[in-house]
């Protein structure tokens, strides 16, 4: 081996070692700042982590675009969905009087809230766009109670990191980080375009997360859990979406 190639080898080895160390340091920093999404493993982990980390670093505090009243879509699409199950139909027959949102996990005062109770909290409205990952979109006015208000009522523990939310449809659940959960535009929505939220649009209660694509706005929400560890839920990937091949973070 000549001096030249030996020098090259040493240089290359040092560069590789520095690269590995650099990635290691970056991963440690990213983890401590909460930049790693729950579905960071596997083939698509790098892209998903870059998406989520960029959002956390660059756009965490920005507000979803709001529209003028005249820009509200005349025909908001009620997306295809599984027919409501027996439990839903029973509650629907009773006019949703017995619908309860149970909240547990890392909270000081867990409880179950009726729709009337939620409607008794300060109500907010936003005219925002619902965009589906498929490509279509519409603008609607959503009315509800900011999730941050409900979280304040139950008293979230300071170590909590995520809010996991469940639909009455057992196959549909999701989660958002505490930054998104406390964001002023994240609602538990019960109204749309001045009326009640229709069943086709997720009524009587739908999570509304306007800075992410439509599938994060889970319909028929009955249960919230506040947690510091998403590994405890399902396959540990943060929501039902990655279990079906879709990204947990849907801001893009």
């Amino acid at each position: 081996m000549s001096d030249l190639s030996r020098r090259k080898l040493i240089k290359g080895g040092l560069a590789a070692a520095a690269g590995v160390a650099g990635v290691g340091v970056a991963a440690t920093i990213a983890k401590s700042y909460g930049l790693i999404p729950p579905d960071h493993g596997g083939l698509w982990g790098a892209g998903e982590t870059l998406n989520y980390a960029s959002y956390k670093l660059l756009t965490r505090h920005s507000m979803a675009r709001e529209f003028a009243r005249r820009e509200i879509s005349k025909r908001p699409l009620e997306n295809e969905m599984a027919p409501p199950n027996d439990a839903f139909q029973k509650l629907q027959a009773g006019g949703f009087a017995d619908w309860r949102l149970t909240i547990d996990g890392m909270v000081a005062r867990p409880g179950a809230f009726s729709l009337d109770q939620l409607k008794g909290y300060p109500s907010r409205s936003q005219i925002t766009q619902l965009a589906c990952e498929e490509g279509w979109s519409y603008v609607a006015e959503w009315t509800g109670v900011p999730l941050s208000h409900v979280l304040e009522v139950v008293g979230v523990q300071p170590e909590a990191k995520y809010v996991v939310y469940f639909s009455i449809d057992p196959y549909w659940w999701d989660s958002i980080d505490m930054g998104d959960a406390l964001h002023p535009q994240t609602y538990l929505a019960y109204g749309m375009n001045g009326g009640e939220l229709s069943v086709g649009n997720g009524g009587p209660l739908r999570m509304r997360v306007p800075r992410q694509l439509g599938y994060k706005s889970v319909k028929f929400v009955t249960h919230l859990t506040v947690t510091d560890d998403l590994k405890k839920f399902g396959k540990g990937l943060g929501s039902a979406s990655p279990e079906g091949g879709y990204a947990w973070y849907a801001g893009i």
Binding site: W44, R75, A131, Y138, Q212, G251
Partner: protein
């Protein structure tokens, strides 16, 4: 200029150069290592983006203008293909399987790699003088007559002369510059304009385009333009001599300018 001039070559090099067809030590690279590596990484990313992008379009092969659009609203145009969603009226009696999950993951992962690669290429290209030297047309070529002449020789399907094995012709330079500085930035911009998180941070990114659905439609047409470029690009490589052009872009080696371009002839 390179290492061969400043560093004394080890003895083996002389043995090798005596038996090789081309005296490797004395001939510079046709394409620099940076150009070769970024070219192929971008090529792989582009194919991945094209496949995954097509899969995503299949879930809603309808296009609109403005802010909104869905199966309930009129279209700007629709593609005559089946869909992976039963809600989309396509005229076909079947629904394709949903592929959007991995397609979206792959689309963004390849987009990240393509963007990092593109940034590396543009920054090093600016610093090294690559754009000035190889892509911006020389003074003599900056005229309507030169452009007219280049168009004429392309339309007559004249085979490139041997000097083109070592330098890009005028139309080639203009189309590469257009792809690098117009189409790629536009496809990235229109892609980001569909992200609800990005548009929250930079609302002008989508309002300047006329709305989310306009951004999606432009994204589609820019992608079509890039595919057309790819087809013509590969066609021209074939026409100019597939083996020698591929060898130049993979190994950096090309026959020296003084030798007749055997493969092209």
């Amino acid at each position: 200029m390179g290492n061969s001039a400043s560093v004394p070559a080890p003895p083996e090099a002389f043995v090798l150069s005596a038996t090789a067809d081309v005296p490797a030590a004395s001939v510079p690279s046709r394409h620099s290592l940076l150009v070769r590596v970024t070219h192929w990484v971008t090529a792989v990313c582009f194919v991945a983006l094209l496949i995954s992008g097509s899969e995503i379009v299949i879930s809603h092969p309808r296009f609109y203008w403005g802010e909104n659009g869905s199966v309930l609203t009129p279209v700007l145009f629709k593609l005559p293909i089946p869909s992976s969603r039963s809600l989309v009226p396509t005229g076909y009696g079947y629904v394709l399987p949903d592929q959007n999950g991995w397609s979206r993951y792959l689309h963004f992962q390849s987009a990240w790699i393509a963007v990092f690669t593109g940034l590396l290429y543009v920054i090093v290209g600016l610093l090294s003088g690559h754009f000035v030297k190889n892509l911006i047309p020389g003074r003599a070529d900056r005229s309507g007559r030169a452009l007219w002449k280049a168009c004429g020789s392309h339309l007559r399907f004249e085979r490139p002369g041997e000097e083109e094995a070592w330098s890009y012709n005028l139309l080639q330079r203009l189309s590469y510059l257009f792809v690098i500085f117009v189409l790629f930035p536009l496809v990235i911009w229109t892609g980001l304009a569909m992200s609800p998180a990005f548009t929250a941070a930079v609302p002008a990114s989508v309002t300047l385009l006329g709305g989310r659905q306009s951004a999606r439609t432009i994204h589609f047409f820019v992608s079509v333009a890039l595919v057309l470029f790819l087809v013509v690009h590969v066609g021209m490589v074939w026409f100019a001599g597939f083996r020698c052009r591929m060898r130049a872009m993979i190994t950096g080696r090309a026959d020296p300018p003084t030798v007749t371009d055997m493969e092209g002839a």
